[in-house]
Symmetry: C2
Subunit: 351 residues, 2 copies
DNA sequence: TATTCATTTTAAACCGTTTTCATCTTTTTT
DNA sequence: AAAAAAGATGAAAACGGTTTAAAATGAATA
């Protein structure tokens, strides 16, 4: 039925092992035989069976990509296509394939990862998220299975884990400082899921900047939500109901910012005149908000590209120590931040 | 090293074939032996090797998902995560895995599909796009390999192809009629890539509606662009430079609409007061534009879910004839469409 | 011419399952 | 009690490759 290596061998009048060596272009085979075998392969339309190869090789040339728990809408964030595009590019270059997780809940995902690893379905795994106390990461670490994380592992005991990250703390700090410099004193922080390490880092940066400026962080100004737009909207309601409304908002994610801006516009609060906003990620559409949003470009594509790069490196050389790569970020100033008028600042201070 | 079926066999003091039968829960094995074997598996921490299984079974329990040519930014469209979420859900239910294409150009993708098929890496394939004269589709059809298309095949010779689609013609027609009903006469159409069948269907629907209303389609009002936001923006410049500006815009895609609205806002053309807009897809963020956009919900998730469903059906029963599923669409009225003032309409007519 | 050594090629084992077919027990039927 | 049928298990051959170790070939050296 299907043409196998044996058929080719017969056709070319050599042994199957020779054909195998021709496929892998082994130097042990003479040019003349190679040519002969290649012709036979072409004549028969031979194509190697991937599973047989994987079985014999103990290698699948496949990378498992683990999405976060997508029960909520997280998944519709354009962040994911973009990070996958980065992974794809590198994977394709090195002739690796991508195997995507399909689980929706934490349990499903955990089970799926076990299957991938134990069933030897993939050579390595990229975690597209980093949570506090993540079973999946713990499991991979215990199994000593090649994997990389996008984001940093929270638990310091997982010290020898390879990861790609942004300096999220620094980014959040800079962003806060920027708002302070623009004269803002009441800066609120709308974070993502508190279980995600990136949220923790953002908040720490925010805190540090406020502290350095001698401002006491006010709990009312700190809100967390994991759903993207809905979360953004609720957060706005909470913040705008405060006696002392914030004059600036730091938002965890561009998509969330769309929700935030939508809600503000319904409340007839104008951006940036009444309130400044700055957020993170710089996904494609963030320049298309009205007004275009100021945000931190975290270079999503590179996160993916480097993660794949590091992972394949790890697969090929399992014993080299863990690498940690920081992808640079960059503030993209657009039109959602504004200097607070001096008089207003003065008035505030008298309050 | 790794624990195989043979190790389990030894541990349980049975033959490997018995263990295999226990795994598949064959009725030919007595409950007593099953229990014994299961205990041995647990004791040894046995997990079946996927590649070996695939090889013996001639089945991978894996679906190949082919993304469109992503050299351009198409890929960042939240359409894809959402359609994949649909596919994922069904696949997970039926215990199929997802294997993602990584190629960026048409050539790369074509080659990759060949690898998947000939290398028996996947049991079936879902095409996430449908183009005119697509080599990939032609190839899969020739090979008689199980596949489904999201969108409809253009070529009628590919009659026995299973696909999931929206009635895009009808949707575009309805949308156009809706604008006509609102009093619009100068309705422009900003389509996507003309090679995509969906674009052709949209345009046909647009044409039909205009014709029924006795309006001659004006070529200047019809523009195509494949890049998403950039395309949207250029299209706007072109249209707004016309002597007779359109009073309404039909846009192929929500993300493109963001670009369109951004550009209009720069030109100080107000939506919907100066111009009405309606678009397609209803991705998550489309309700977050300013103002929230009127769009056609095409039920992206269901497209994916049904595609996976049909495909797995096809894999399991290769000989049943091709199925074609239409997913219903629904116009979501938000705030980008407006009735044209009677006086203005009158004035126009005197022109 | 016989010996050595490098170069090519091959036979056979292996990767870890599934499955066909045969064998060995039991149980049922006559 | 013998024969037939049913039930449970096992041995061995796939599945389609890779790889180790050995054999064949040919060239170079003594």
């Amino acid at each position: 039925m299907t043409v196998t290596i044996k058929d080719v061998a017969k056709e070319a009048d050599v042994a199957p092992s020779t054909v195998s060596r021709v496929i892998s272009d082994s130097p042990r085979i003479s040019e003349r035989t190679k040519e002969k075998v290649r012709e036979a392969m072409a004549r028969l339309g031979y194509h190697p069976n991937f599973n047989a190869r994987s079985l014999a090789n103990q290698s699948t040339k496949t990378i498992g990509v683990i999405m976060p728990n997508s029960a909520n809408k997280t998944f519709q964030n354009p962040f994911f296509p973009e990070v996958i595009r980065g992974i794809s590019t590198k994977a394709h270059q090195l002739e690796y394939g991508l195997y995507l997780s399909t689980g929706q809940s934490d349990d499903e995902i955990y089970e799926e990862v076990q299957h991938m690893v134990q069933g030897k379905r993939v050579d390595g795994i990229i975690l597209l998220y980093s949570k506090v106390d993540d079973r999946v990461m713990k499991y991979l670490h215990e199994q000593d299975f090649p994997f990389t994380v996008i984001g940093r592992p929270y638990d310091d005991s997982l010290s020898n884990v390879t990861f790609v990250n942004n300096d999220n703390l620094k980014a959040a700090k800079t962003v806060t400082e920027y708002l302070l410099l623009l004269g803002h004193k009441r800066i609120a922080f709308i974070g993502g899921n508190l279980e995600h390490v990136v949220t923790i880092d953002h908040m720490e940066g925010y805190h540090q900047a406020l502290k350095n400026a001698g401002i006491d962080p006010c709990d009312d100004y700190i809100v967390f939500h994991d759903e993207l737009q809905e979360g953004g909207q609720e957060a706005v309601i909470d913040l705008m109901s405060l006696a002392e409304r914030p004059s600036a908002l730091i938002v965890a994610d561009d998509i969330m910012t769309f929700g935030v801006m939508r809600m503000l516009s319904e409340m007839e609060v104008h951006v940036p005149d009444d309130i400044s906003i700055i957020s993170f990620n710089n996904v494609m559409i963030s320049e298309l908000s009205a007004p275009p949003m100021t945000t931190v470009d975290i270079n999503i594509y590179s996160l993916g590209y480097e993660a794949a790069n590091l992972l394949i490196d790890k697969i090929l050389h399992p014993d080299v120590p863990a690498k940690k790569v920081l992808i640079p970020h960059k503030m993209i100033k657009r039109q959602t931040c504004r200097r607070v008028a001096a008089e207003r600042t003065l008035k505030e201070e008298t309050l």
